[in-house]
Amino acid sequence: MAIAYYPGCSLHSMAHEYDVSARLVSERLGIDLQEVSDWNCCGATAAHSLNHKLAVGLNSRNLNLVKDMKLDKITTPCAGCFSRLKTASLELKDPAMRESLKDLGIISEGAETVQVAHLLQVMLEEVGLDKIKQNVVKPLKGLKLAAYYGCLITRPRAIAQFDDPEQPMALDNLLQALGAETVQWSHKAECCGGGFAASDTAIVVDLGGQILEAARQAGAQALVVACPMCQANLDTRQQAIEVDRARKYGLPIIYFTQLMGLAFGFTPKQMGLQRMLVNPSQLLALHS
């Protein structure tokens, strides 16, 4: 199964381990991820915050490149990129929007037909839990995890069209298929502060702190994420959160693809687990 792959800027720098693990587990499952050639940044929060047409234009260029590759589907492991791409693809269904992009030099005819899916969605809907289970050689027995979805994988429902935004279960089901236990908790779909980690750290410390506290109270040993921004906020700001709340959390923040890889028999090193700031090694020793 060939799908166009959009890593996004984070996966080419800070979240390198997410990129590597996503590619390795996809390959194992027979998904042929073909990186979109010459892709540009989705514009993240900045573009849509300041200029709507620019945001749609940037993402239309990427959707066009998928058409040029003769593929009809694009996937990304980043919740932010997913939301921007999918929003643009829905906006492009409006002929007036397509017309208005013409004077930007973006020929978007056909780009609106490219399907957009988050990588988690591909795992559940295209690969399926049965096939994933068949590939598990080292079940994640004894791990108690909090599946954290954040905002944009499921919200707003009119755009994401995936899972239930109030009580999402996709990631829980996936982790259970890998042999782990997932906790029931209150902050699955609360916001981590998104792109504000550098620009207004207090917001991320506040919102991220509520999430870590809820995960701790539910008895989770780690949080599992499907977005490089969620990972960065909860991992790199965890020390500041610990100071703010005068409590030690020590909760590793791990990508779902890293755990899939471990269950499939890849080593922690191959999955880049040594790159996480809150060290998950203690937790993973439980599993080895």
Partner: protein, 192 residues
């Protein structure tokens, strides 16, 4: 931090429907459908630090109080989490209205109360304008310089460096001209 004015009723001293109409045309959002149920504010991730909460923002659009909307701190502290629109029984897309008003604030040269957020957006767009992509480490560094927080996150930066998390090389799109054209014809376009 701005004073939160949850308990002060809005004064209905100004009713002008032109803004409401403008937002309906430009964003396809009809605030007339608001039931004032408050679900948006109840769910909002950041209502506890907003100077004006989402339900009030919708009311201000109805009242045509553009001045307060362009100057409010919430315009910049909204994290675009989409909770409000997802829970609204009338599907009123508040984050889209926020984007629209922010764009308008920029056109009218109304500066954000929280400069650091606006500066961050600008630096990010600068990076995309130049290379088509964003390199996180140089972006964070530039932001520290521009906001004069020279030592901010120095220790975090050191820890991340040793984990190999900081990639100092700026990636570049080959056909960056196409991306630059997009900027020239949208956000960089002079009005008139």
């Amino acid at each position: 931090m701005a004073m939160v004015d949850y308990y002060r009723p809005l004064r209905l001293n100004q009713v002008d429907s032109s803004l409401q109409e403008e937002i309906k045309q430009a964003c396809g959002v009809d605030v007339e459908l608001c039931l004032e149920c408050g679900k948006c504010t109840g769910g909002c991730s950041n209502a506890h630090i907003f100077d004006l909460t989402p339900r009030k923002i919708v009311q201000l659009v109805k009242l045509g109080d553009e001045k307060r909307l362009l100057n409010m701190d919430s315009l910049w502290t909204c994290v675009s989490c989409q909770l409000c629109v997802d829970r609204c029984p009338s599907h009123i897309d508040i984050p889209r209205v926020m984007d629209y008003m922010r764009e308008k604030a920029r056109k009218k040269n109304v500066k954000a109360q929280r400069q650091s957020i606006e500066i961050f957006h600008d630096l990010m767009l600068d990076s995309i304008r130049k290379t088509g992509r964003v390199a996180e480490a140089p972006l964070a560094l530039k932001h520290n310089l521009r906001t004069r927080q020279y030592l901010k996150d120095a220790d975090l930066g050191r820890r991340m460096f040793f984990k190999g998390k900081l990639n100092p090389f700026a990636p570049k799109v080959k056909n960056v001209k196409q991306v630059q054209d997009l900027f020239a014809k949208t956000i960089d376009k002079k009005e008139g």
